[in-house]
């Protein structure tokens, strides 16, 4: 059973934190849309 207040405990902020995660990516080809990759990851792993 998940923690009741998990979202509040962790306090993730989509608008602030996604660009930070994208900035840390060093494995995509030059010119790749890193924000789109992070977003795609979120949609995939949030779904299943």
């Amino acid at each position: 059973m998940y923690r009741e207040n998990a979202p509040d405990i962790i306090g993730l902020d989509y608008e602030k934190d996604v660009p930070v995660l994208a900035e840390g990516i060093d494995f995509l080809p030059e010119g790749a849309d890193k924000i789109a990759f992070v977003r795609s990851f979120i949609l995939s792993r949030g779904r299943s």
Binding site: A6, P7, G11, D17, F41, R45
Partner: protein
């Protein structure tokens, strides 16, 4: 003189095998036979689940040897659905592997609460998943810094997973001459909505929400995917890297009454099906469980475009009820696991005799657990279908 194997020739032949069945071509040569598996090849090769799911090199070795041994016409996938290394990088969550029981099961808890529906409508899917679902699902997140560090690692694993999946599909296409089943998959907004809310809350919301409100929420889970799929269908160029064009799957249909299916589910699929017909594509449709009660709706689909993956339904019966459609499945999995080779052959013969021109033979459930199939039975089935079903 032995003929040199040419993967391009095989690929074209396999494409035509499947295509001819869906399009009901008088040129069809025989009934194709496919294998639908999730993790059974791991057990068949003698490995435990965790070692198979966490090692991409081993996965590749297993699935390549699987094809060399069984030589089916094409396959449901090559372990591509398994993201255990990604979820392990996130600290675990979503899936539990039990090697003692050779099983795995998904943690089935609601990730979005019913009282958060308004939040979903305001914020959209990505923000909801990131801020609400991730902390609930990935329970090892200690605090924000920990969550960010784990997600940074998981992003690398996500890239490795996608790269591996692309590479193994390409290998099968180029080296084995085995096309993928579908060119691409369509969206599943109802399924994703159901999984996020859980069955209880989904059923409650379905009963209480107005039609418009329900569809507004489903539209959030669609996230633009329907429009993107229609666009892809418009631009799609058919080739022999895949057997069928679009793949649509639904587990949520099994929770819906006929009226609910007509109201909420069919309007999500119909635009894609109409577009597939308009551009001359084929599409595979899977409605989990049984779909006989949807026959009056499915009967209106035109001939020559659609193949239904079957699970509980009797394929021979459905072929008669829905003469415009073809069917992928029909072979009882329990026989593969607990029957004899001769019983498998006798059942395959009856299936082929009943509806060969509308049929792609496959087990009616994915082969997942060690006892789901006996290797000799599967070999007997595949070899028999290839030989007996020639038109």
């Amino acid at each position: 003189m032995d003929t040199v194997f040419d993967p391009a020739v095989r690929r074209a032949q396999t494409k035509k095998l499947g295509d001819d069945i869906v399009r009901r071509s008088p040129d069809a040569v025989r009934v194709p036979v496919t294998v639908s598996t999730s993790q059974w090849p791991i057990f068949e090769a003698g490995y435990k689940l965790r070692e198979g799911l966490m090692n991409y090199e081993l996965q590749d070795e297993i699935i390549k040897n699987f094809h060399l041994k069984f030589d089916a016409d094409f396959y449901s996938g090559y372990f591509s659905r398994y993201c255990e290394r990604v979820t392990a990088a996130l600290g675990g969550g979503g899936l539990l592997i039990n090697d003692e029981q050779d099983a795995h099961y998904y943690i089935n808890e609601p990730m979005v609460l019913l009282e958060e529906i308004d939040y979903v409508l305001e914020s959209g899917l990505a923000k909801t998943y990131f801020e609400k679902v991730f902390p609930r699902k990935y329970q090892s997140f200690v605090d924000k810094d920990d969550a960010m560090a784990k997600m940074a690692e998981a992003l690398k694993e996500e890239n490795a997973l996608r790269s591996r999946n692309a590479a193994i599909s390409e290998y099968f296409v180029k080296e084995f001459g085995v096309p993928s089943t579908y060119a691409f998959a369509g969206p599943r907004p109802l399924d994703d909505f159901l999984q996020s809310l859980g069955m209880k809350a989904f059923s409650k919301f379905l009963r209480r929400a107005s039609k418009q409100h329900f569809m507004d929420v489903v539209n959030v889970w669609d996230n633009g995917a329907l429009a993107t799929t229609i666009g892809r269908l418009d631009k799609h160029v058919d080739n022999d890297t895949h057997v069928f064009g679009l793949g649509l799957t639904s587990t949520s249909a099994s929770f819906l009454s006929l009226k609910q299916f007509e109201m909420y589910h069919w309007p999500l699929w119909k635009p894609m099906l109409d577009k597939a017909v308009e551009v001359g594509m084929t599409a595979g449709l899977f409605l989990e469980g049984t779909f006989e009660h949807f026959s009056d709706i499915l009967r209106d689909l035109p001939k020559g475009h659609f193949i239904m993956t079957t699970e509980q339904d009797d394929v021979a019966r459905m072929a008669g009820l829905l003469p415009n459609l073809s069917f992928h499945g029909g072979f009882p999995t329990y026989l593969l696991g607990h029957g004899t080779p001769q019983e498998c052959i006798d059942t395959a013969k009856a299936l082929i005799d009943a509806c060969a021109r509308q049929l792609v033979v496959c087990s009616n459930k994915m082969l997942s657990y060690p006892n789901d199939a006996d290797s000799d039975n599967l070999l007997a089935l595949i070899d028999f279908v290839k030989e007996y079903s020639k038109f």
